[in-house]
Symmetry: C2
Subunit: 299 residues, 2 copies
Amino acid sequence: MAQAPFIPPTVGVFDSGFGGLTVLRALIALAPQAQYAFIGDTARLPYGSKSRRTIARYAAQSARFLVEEQGAEYLVIACNTASALALDAIQEAVPSSVPVIGVIEPGAEAARQASATRDVLVIATDATVQSHAYAAACQARGLRALEKACPLLVPLVEEGWVASPVTNDSMALQTSAATKQQAVTADVVRIYVEELRADAHAMSMEPDSLVLGCTHYPLLKPVIEGLIPPTIKIIDSAAAAANELVMHLSRDRHALAAPASSGTRLCFFATDSVEKFERLGSRFLGRQVNNVQLVDLGG
Amino acid sequence: MAQAPFIPPTVGVFDSGFGGLTVLRALIALAPQAQYAFIGDTARLPYGSKSRRTIARYAAQSARFLVEEQGAEYLVIACNTASALALDAIQEAVPSSVPVIGVIEPGAEAARQASATRDVLVIATDATVQSHAYAAACQARGLRALEKACPLLVPLVEEGWVASPVTNDSMALQTSAATKQQAVTADVVRIYVEELRADAHAMSMEPDSLVLGCTHYPLLKPVIEGLIPPTIKIIDSAAAAANELVMHLSRDRHALAAPASSGTRLCFFATDSVEKFERLGSRFLGRQVNNVQLVDLGG
């Protein structure tokens, strides 16, 4: 009997904005054989200031859209706030056959595997830190986690004050301006990291891992690497979530059936300003974001 | 016949958050004889990313609360986004006898009075710049305005990375950290101001005024002053709105009846986290913010 033709699995990826495109980037790198439908609920961001109930309702709507209308067989919640507050609600909103992967548990698991001292640092947004979701996930694995809110990092990344291989080859004038902007970003990261390490020292912690607990932060990874000692390893929750997806795909034999060199199929949806999504999104995805479709999830 | 006892006028002040407390501060300085009811619609901020219709509905709810439940006889819309997009809707939501004062028209009017070259610079949030409300208000007065969005300034102010007379006398360690933070803020302001002045130069403009088009920016005034030539005058929309209120009060004879030294009565209302409002609000108001009451405006 002839082998059935390879049908690529469909992975739905959800974020409140476009930061989750760094997670999609990691997913594509590790599982290029899948096809991806990404939705950014940009009309209703930021989720961080909203109640758990509202976030759960919004996230469930996006999850159902991905599963029911885009045929997603796997869901990746590429949003720390939704992962922290709404993972159960999302799992309940879709058939139990659809695995729902957040970013927090994989991030904590990667920290467990990386840490020898069992002391871990976490940087994230104010909302994620206030949820203490990383601290809880780390504690459940026998790790002690110190979390720090870094509210300036998301706006700095969204302003584009970061080194980007995509836009680096601009005019000399722009490069001079970009250098000043990137110096500011490095100063901000330095201040946050120094405060965090001083707090850890005061608590007699010996951290050997730093978790990037926000989907915007992978764009700052080169800056952060330059500002911490090599004894501290950076844990990227996006990459950790991608690893988790690959485990699921392998279990379901999808990974084994990858065709040699077909391009990854990508669909993008947003609930507000498609233009802004395309412009900012490309920076997060590391490749052009085109043909974003506007969708109305209601309410 | 004996003169009637002085009954202080009630002024309602509205913002989507607590930035508008800089406007309240200016109001108290110029019209201490009034009593003030301030509401921050913190549960639904930021307004900047919402549609005109939604902003109008939210702002109208706050305006009615101030007039119907707090007895406000004057309304000051201490929010650039609401001033730009919802001033008509607010005026329609309250009796026509209640004057509604926004921050944009007074800011543009102050620029007209200050500018000799008729070229004006405006810094504001992304949402305010996209509305081009300042450019329109300036153009109506024969001024040419160049607007620049400065998205990092609000988060920097909210992080407290600004010099503050209230918190300056902390421990030496904190002061050292604060110095680094304030240096970052100065760098960010410098980058924005240099870009704006370069753009103005490229357009052959000769600006002699810079309008602070966001209620957070008065906290950055000392920094900005140090980074622009003395030929450019800073126009504070908050102070301009306060001047406008005093004009109304004088017209209605309230200003004339000010008692010698009674303290200004202040009431604060917020639609979310009273604790955060008190903590951050004090920095904007320049004095302690206490007894903030939580209110539910519905919707």
